[in-house]
Symmetry: C2
Subunit: 467 residues, 2 copies
């Protein structure tokens, strides 16, 4: 068995080096668990297994119930133990034989002698202070408790975040593959979109493309004519002329790397004048934000830039009155652009979100408190190799327009009759999202991984209309 | 909002009656939790939510973090409290508004005054001995522990099992819908199967049909040219002429009811003589077993009947030597027919498997110890309304033929050269599976929910070959 069959992303030496870099900053040993397949509604019917991303990043093969033990000062080989599941006859009959120890060791960049049984973990950590990173599955939680492992501290997370923040060439290759499959799925979705069909038919096109490319959805695809509900997961509505369909979907390729992108288009392929106008505003916010993705730029400033562009468009469309920059500074955009501009992407579609805001927010920075802006998941100075989404949007959310407290500070700026007209027309929402990677030298903007997916208003409309 | 939008299966009175029947047999109150969406690899990226089946069965709407509290002696309305999530502004913006209390109460067959906040559960159970049924998700496990709820006892499970064993007309209607969608997906799979394509392309056809019908896979579809690995979940192989493709897949329709069916066919639509011969054997085992599904018949006897038919076919095909009935009695079939004949189906594709063998095995019955037969999940006397699968198979599992201890008792019966020939040809495996419902009166066999899916060898071959 070669490393491809083990679904590894990088050559073994890269994994060895990653572990060595982590080990050089550790003061205590750390255990990183792969986890187990998660139960769906009962324990024996499970979702497909997905290993913990930190475990994968440091070279773990995608096996259930495995774990790394990394000792401080390890060179990435000596002092790194991989606890891989024991082979079991019944298991081999039911789910297939495990890869050989030799194959695992070769792929992971450790010696075969560094492979042990999970039952050996207890004696290796007994009586020592050992930190643990683990996914939230009941079996692993039990082991962590039984072995008295302590939670990893923020200080111990930081070197991992530091490593994972900058994607190397192997990771970028995997992310480009994930983006390419995600683009194909979106184009299939556009072609499947037609009045009289359902959201479910468009979602079916996405699942079909992802599956045929041996990919998994990087998150449950959003395919909705209620685009203003930010994270709907059901596909129950029929597509009618005049409605906008919002499709937010990405692929996770077999090594675990994710893509994430959004397009919005009219069910019948014809934008109404106001739909077109607001689409163009969102696209301008998208393009201006992407152009601003330079090393050293603070991401929150780019979010605020997008907010200004959106306020300009909302004033032009007569939904708001006033000076766009002032409106954005006051936060009026949050009534329409209700979420953050973007988030990190990598092995997790919200990369390293299991570390909370420690990954997305630079040390000393915290979320702003106000509705809308508080949902921003990223506030770092951009640096080369950082992969992130840019995803501005404009939504007409009925809940917001029933909430007087939210509107109250902005009553002077809101042109309520125009808002009400769009609400009555079930405008929904428009989002455009690309995944980009910040580049270092001879700056000509970031690499846009999703650039093959058209976002020009006429081009998108044509693909939908032509099917 | 009507009950359809809440994805309920039955009219409210049916739910009220189910709760009343359970309550009449309770000595202590019982809490049944719906659970939460399960994390994929990190906590904030979740799989689509699927509520616990017991919670659904007793009329719970499919909402996360909900629970029933059922008091002994309740009439199904008074003494039944539904703890449904509190509405939250940010949640409404992100995932949509909750159904109204009135809509929930109407659909579930309780009064609006019986709806409470999950935070009220603590005061309702405080200081009392209360049993709990809950799915294995971390958040619910925490609540169970915090409120000191005790595990439900086997005695308390029995009345629930008794109710759920016999499917009523509402359940059967849902199961027929799930079967119909599953059949459509299988036919799409047959049509997608072609030499040079991949398992992934066939799997894509399945996901596409399920999604377009707003269904979910009732379990991760098995689409494999390595049919002898009973539960592969990957789709990495290319389809070659001469190979058999095993497809085991079912649909779960939005109310939660499942279907389950298997077909096996050659990648190029042409069965080789030995493939055809063993297919016909498996089909005969299938048909004889289905004909035997009469009320009062012990399911283990039907499993043993299938084993005899399979031994007959293996003798005819010269894989075994001897008297088929004697061979089956000795267990020689377990080298080829390595699993049980079937399992219960309903709201869970392995219905009530969260109760362990208490659901599948009648009181006093336990699993036989030997390899193969020990995997039988069902040993009850059949009764009207019981829904189950019939799924005999013949496999050439390399692991078994490398295991001398397993073969040793049967060396006189095994024609090893013929076995080795099939192993060398990567025979794989053949399984045919239908879902049936035992009928009560004027016995003319069970209802075969999957009867629209062809299983005749020539008909199946033609569908594959014609694409």
């Amino acid at each position: 068995m070669d490393s491809t069959q083990l679904d590894m992303t990088a050559p073994p030496d890269v994994y060895t080096a990653r572990r060595a870099r982590l080990a050089s900053q550790l003061h205590k040993p750390i255990v990183i668990f792969s986890g187990f397949a998660r139960a769906r509604h009962y324990a024996t019917n499970v979702h497909p297994f997905r290993a913990n991303s930190n475990y994968l990043y440091f070279g773990g093969p995608p096996l259930e119930g495995a774990a790394w033990l990394i000792e401080p000062g390890s060179d990435g080989r000596e002092g790194c133990t991989l606890f891989r599941p024991d082979s079991d006859f019944d298991e081999a009959v039911w789910v297939g034989a495990l890869p050989s120890d030799e194959a695992i060791a070769d792929a992971s960049g450790v010696k075969s002698s560094s492979l042990k049984s999970p039952t050996d973990l207890e004696s290796c950590v007994h009586g020592r202070e050992v930190a643990a990173i683990y996914p939230p599955c009941p079996e692993t939680l039990k082991t962590v408790k039984k072995l008295s492992l302590r939670e990893v501290t923020e200080e111990e997370m930081l070197p991992i975040i530091d490593l994972r923040l900058s994607k190397d060439e192997h990771e970028l290759k995997a992310m480009r593959r994930a983006a390419d499959v995600g683009v194909k799925a979106h184009i299939a979705a556009m072609k499947a979109c037609a009045v009289g069909l359902g959201e479910a038919d468009v979602a079916a096109a996405i699942f079909s493309v992802l599956t045929s490319h041996q990919c998994y959805p990087s998150f449950t695809p959003i395919v909705s004519i209620r685009g203003e509900i930010l994270h709907t997961e059901k596909y129950t509505n029929t597509l009618e002329a005049g409605q906008l369909l919002l499709v937010d979907s990405g692929a996770e390729e077999p090594t675990g790397y994710a893509s994430d992108m959004t397009r919005t288009y009219p069910a019948n392929g014809e934008f109404s004048p106001i739909q077109r106008q607001l689409y163009e505003t969102v696209l301008r916010a998208e393009q201006d934000s992407i152009a601003a993705c330079k090393p050293g730029t603070r991401f929150r400033d780019i979010h605020d830039l997008a907010a200004r562009v959106i306020c300009e468009g909302l004033v032009e469309a007569e939904l708001l009155r006033g000076d766009p920059a002032e409106l954005a500074a006051r936060g009026v955009h949050t009534l329409f652009f209700v979420h953050g501009l973007g988030h990190l992407v990598g092995l997790d579609v919200h990369d390293m979100e299991d570390f909370g805001d420690l990954a997305g927010y630079a040390p000393g920075r915290t979320r702003r408190p106000e509705f809308g802006n508080k949902f921003l998941r990223l506030d770092r100075d951009l640096s080369p190799g950082m992969a992130l989404t840019i995803e501005p949007g404009i939504y007409l959310v009925p809940e917001i327009w029933h909430n007087e407290a939210l509107q109250e500070p902005f009553l002077d700026a809101i042109n309520r009759p125009v808002v009400d007209k769009l609400l009555a027309d079930n405008f929904g929402g428009i989002r455009i999202e690309e995944t980009v990677v910040v580049r270092e030298e001879s700056f000509d903007g970031p690499e846009v991984l999703t650039k093959e997916l058209p976002n020009d208003v006429d081009q998108v409309a044509k693909i939908v209309a032509d099917n």
